[in-house]
């Protein structure tokens, strides 16, 4: 999927990928690629600015961690990030359900 198509959804995807467990940037990208079956094959350099942005917003935290003798910057979802992810996931599911219904010519049930 192109970077253009991902625009606006990258933050949500990154939050979800990091929520699976603390990880450094390269591992997060691999996780996104693996979980999406290769659909989200991002330009890798665009991920780090997004991770830094999410950290500035308080949705992720990060720390240097020694891993196999190497110093790595490891990211984790904060409480605020977890709450934001739940809210955004709900919005996304409603949005996706509506789009799918329209594309299939069906009628989407009105949200209660």
């Amino acid at each position: 999927m192109s970077a253009e198509a991902l625009k606006g959804h990258l933050d949500l995807l990154l939050l979800a990928a990091v929520q699976a467990g603390p990880a450094h940037g390269y591992a997060i990208i691999q996780r996104l690629r693996r979980q999406s079956g290769g659909t989200f094959d991002l330009p890798e350099g665009t991920v780090y600015p997004a991770l830094h942005r999410l950290e500035r917003a308080g949705l992720l935290s990060s720390a240097w961690v020694m891993e196999n003798g190497r110093r790595r910057r490891v990211y984790a979802v904060t409480q605020k990030g977890a709450t934001a992810l739940v809210a955004h996931r709900r919005v996304w599911e409603t949005f996706a359900r509506g789009v799918n219904a329209v594309l299939k010519g069906a009628v989407c049930p009105t949200p209660t």
Binding site: K7, G8, Y26, E44, R53, H88
Partner: protein
């Protein structure tokens, strides 16, 4: 050229495009270097030669100029937000310092207070024209600053609502760039307005003190004038940083 040399050259190119503090830059470069080493190793494990692995890792990461501008584009947004907040804080502090030295505050602190201005002795409370001119300019400049700062704050507040995660992408892209530019313009305008308002207001307080018996001494007036200048100076670096970051990001081709 060895892997280390190629990565070092890439990092040098990236560093040139990053207009951030040394600590921040070191962190970014360390993360990118780490990433490239991981990527090269993974490619080699898949059977690529060292040269192919390096070429693929760098190609997948993106051109250093594009990556640097992506960092700067994100920083520009938070820079404008920081500038708007700093200016708002400065405005509140200036407002308090102006109010506690006004004739109105004298009614609270009493006529013996050394820093409040006494009411003017003029008939109908209409001061001489020189005072009206300086007071008018200071009031107008403060008014422009207040409106511009509030505008910038509202713009930056809209970003904080997290709309970028769920908004339709093209609309968001245009809307965010527009909001960012408008807020930055407002912050710069507010800075200019305060640059006029603070010295003219200080001039007015000295002019007024010369006309009104029982006014604070020049030393007290100078203290408050200096305090207001310091409040302003504290906010200026935030605006300068926002402009610098926005300038570095201005040629950013695309933002994800």
């Amino acid at each position: 050229m060895s892997d280390a040399d190629v990565i070092a050259r890439y990092l040098d190119d990236l560093a040139r495009g990053l207009r951030v503090g040394p600590r921040h830059k070191t962190r970014i470069l360390a993360e990118v270097e780490d990433h490239l080493h991981d990527a090269v190793r993974a490619e080699q494990e898949r059977g690529a030669s060292p040269e192919e692995a390096m070429h693929t890792a760098i190609a997948r990461f993106g051109a250093p100029g594009v990556v640097a501008r992506q960092f700067m584009a994100d920083l520009a947004t938070s820079g404008v937000r920081g500038a708007a907040r700093a200016l708002f804080a400065a405005l509140v502090a200036l407002g308090i310092s102006v109010e506690i030295t006004s004739p109105v505050a004298r009614e609270i602190f009493g006529p013996e207070s050394r820093f409040t201005a006494p009411p003017g002795p003029w008939p109908g409370d209409v001061p001489p024209w020189q005072l009206q001119v300086t007071n008018g300019i200071a009031t107008l400049a403060f008014g422009v600053a207040i409106v511009a700062i509030l505008f910038a704050l509202v713009q930056t507040h809209l970003w904080r609502r997290g709309i970028r995660i769920v908004y339709p992408e093209v609309q968001l892209h245009i809307s965010q760039r527009g909001m960012e530019g408008a807020a930055l313009g407002a912050a710069v305008l507010a800075t200019g307005a305060l640059l006029v308002a603070i010295p003219v207001d200080a001039l007015w307080t000295f002019q007024r003190a010369a006309e009104v018996p029982g006014s604070p001494t020049p030393g007290v007036l100078a203290f408050f004038a200096a305090l207001r200048v310091l409040i302003f100076i504290a906010a200026v670096p935030f605006v300068v940083r926002a402009v610098r970051w926005a300038g570095a990001a201005a040629q950013h081709p695309e933002a994800v």
